[in-house]
Symmetry: C2
Subunit: 399 residues, 2 copies
């Protein structure tokens, strides 16, 4: 079967050239005569490769030496728990004598994923969860995730153990703006001042799609790889070094014990190979990142991704004028990665999807929790592929 | 570079034919026009594939309907924590009013990995760790892992929350015998009677190499995939259904909170896709398991693996007679998967390794913690490859 156009929300499209290179690497990694899925994670060849992957991320995102780059497994959902456990351990070491109910975790809830993260913090206990902003309260119907709240809507706590946000909400198609003058930017100016910010960002679905605003001010940035840079099974962490804490010392003071694979310090002390990492996903991500550097890095993709999204939102706008499409997200808060809209009218949504599939465009269905159409525009989706779907949408609204 | 002979201990050799098939699947999975690293884990095509993988394991290992087969990430090290958390939650629900110091976790320590598992249980707390047997006490120098203790050396607790053992110790090259009449078999007859056994087996490095003795009596069996069946990044669990407990209900009674990705019930309720699983490693494991079934399943590999190990131990014996080799493990306790020995005499070990590498045989160095030679004979290592190393060893002891 010829390759189709894959607009899936993750796992999602990867560049053809990378997949061809990876296919060769399955049988012979780097001239070793051993395939990449078969080689020891402690071999000098893989150790060098892992260091290169780290460096490709560090240089392209401009990660300062204050921060470690780590590789682990378990996806964003694993990090919902890990960030809470590590940041509460850090808070315990800083403030050993506070009662649990006086420890606070601040969550900015702008979509399904940040909501799930807050739910997991509540499950784990050990602190009070404070919702610093809830986008639903400011939505068209007070229950939808259709916006990034304006800065006047946030209320942060005084000394939270973490301040959590999700940059891009894959299900709901809302994304913080990277432009600090936008009303939908992250309200950095409201954060507590002085000392090291406990700021945690889930960048799973926007990682490497553009530069990260105020990266150096983050305690932890994490991302599942399966959107812009690789296969599922790899999670990338950028952790400020003061957050690599001795979780056992914190546990002696009353913090929850941290499963060893979730302890950031253990991961860092072992250069991400305390236990066997997901070698093959790391390899493919490395190939994607190498290609990305050659093309011009995150700056290149930032421009490309803006052009792609502009074209698509323009096509949705044209459909809105005809009463056929309806964008789900408020202007200004719309994601460059996951573009969501409804097709209005009886059975027209099914017709829209079937027509696209007939043209070789797949995975356009919205997330099962919200329905509608979702077109994901991760780095590997080309401008030509966007042109193809836009042409189809323009044709669709004429008929 | 032509493919070399890979005797690595994990990640380790995979069959050439599977790697070629996987290379094609990277560009087109199952005629979808989407590569396996790019397809949604909730697509009907991958859902069907995952169900097939489960069935390939269930039929070949004869897993009864009392047990669920689950797929997760994080490797054996992740399970060191997860089994403790889940089995302590289960124990809490069964015995809500016991004090932590009256809960016991029984560990059988026969090598580096079971020792690490017991260490992690101590780190996590919530119960007392009791070492039911320690192979070092019965070794040639009271400090080596060179044996499986005889049955008279075990002391199990009355009502432990778990009874833990590691079937094959990858670093030390000791393995329980699958023959119940052997002194090195697991002492099933000594286990507490009545009720459902809380027996936990780490099968990471012997999974699918032969049938699992008394599988139905196990509470949990787990295995990292990166030895006999696939790439790193996939962990397979076989969990008896009474061990799929409501960890949140247990936490309300005082048990430790369990990170959501480690909760067996959540994993089971979601058919292993609560969060995105490691799709690509699962795919390759599935191809390996399909091929395995065609060849004759675990029975086929049991015979093959015995022949391979016999040949190798015979060659070591011939070297011992010449005073050149020295097996590290007591006869009867020797692993069929990881064969460890010393090359005696100044610089002879380095010469042995260099000579093997010149013949295209790689990854023969023992684990850094114990030194010596380690030749791993996982399923994908062919009898011809074993014949090649045996010929080299016989040649080596002549010169």
């Amino acid at each position: 079967m010829p390759r189709v156009i894959n607009f899936g929300a993750g796992p999602s499209a990867l560049p053809d050239s990378v997949l061809q290179e990876a296919a060769a690497g399955l049988l012979d990694f780097n001239g070793t005569g051993i395939g990449i899925a078969e080689i020891s994670h402690r071999s000098k060849e893989f150790t060098a490769f892992l260091a290169e992957v780290e460096s490709l991320i560090r240089t392209q995102l401009d990660v300062p030496p204050t921060h470690s780059i780590l590789f682990t497994q378990g996806g964003g959902t694993g990090q919902f728990s890990a960030v809470v456990l590590n940041m509460l351990a850090r808070h315990r070491l800083l403030h050993p004598n506070l009662a649990d109910e006086d420890r606070v975790l601040d969550y900015v809830v702008t979509g399904s994923w940040s909501k799930k993260a807050a739910d997991e913090a509540r499950r784990l206990g050990g602190a009070r969860v404070h919702v610093a902003a809830d986008a639903r309260l400011h939505s068209k119907d007070t229950k939808s995730f259709d916006n990034i709240p304006t800065h006047d809507k946030y209320k942060f706590s005084l000394d939270p153990a973490l301040i959590y946000y999700c940059e891009n909400e894959t299900v709901d198609g809302v994304e913080f703006s990277a432009d600090p003058s936008s009303a939908a930017s992250f309200p950095f100016e409201l954060l507590p001042e002085g000392g090291l910010l406990p700021l945690v960002g889930d960048y799973s679905s926007s990682f490497m799609s553009r530069p990260i605003p105020r990266l150096a001010d983050h305690a932890v940035i994490y991302a599942g790889a399966q959107k812009n840079i690789g296969p599922a099974g790899l999670t990338i962490l950028i952790v400020r070094k003061d957050c690599l804490v001795d979780v056992d010392a914190a546990a002696k003071l009353g913090a929850a014990a941290v499963p060893i694979t979730m302890a950031y310090k253990t991961l860092s002390d072992s250069s991400s190979v305390h236990n066997t990492p997901s070698v093959l996903p790391i390899y493919i991500a490395g190939l994607v990142l190498r290609r990305m550097k050659e093309l011009g890095g995150v700056q290149y993709y930032e421009q490309l991704n803006k052009r792609k999204a502009d074209k698509l939102y323009t096509a949705i706008g044209a459909g809105e004028e005809k009463g056929i499409f309806k964008a789900k997200v408020r202007e200004g808060s719309r994601s460059l990665m996951n573009v969501v809209f409804d097709v209005l009218g009886d059975d027209l949504e099914a017709k829209f999807i079937a027509g696209a599939e007939a043209k070789g465009m797949k995975a356009l269905k919205g997330h099962r929790s919200v329905g509608g159409i979702r077109i994901s525009l991760y780095n590997a989706v080309t401008e030509e592929q966007v042109d193809a779907v836009v042409a189809y949408m323009n044709e669709f609204i004429q008929t």
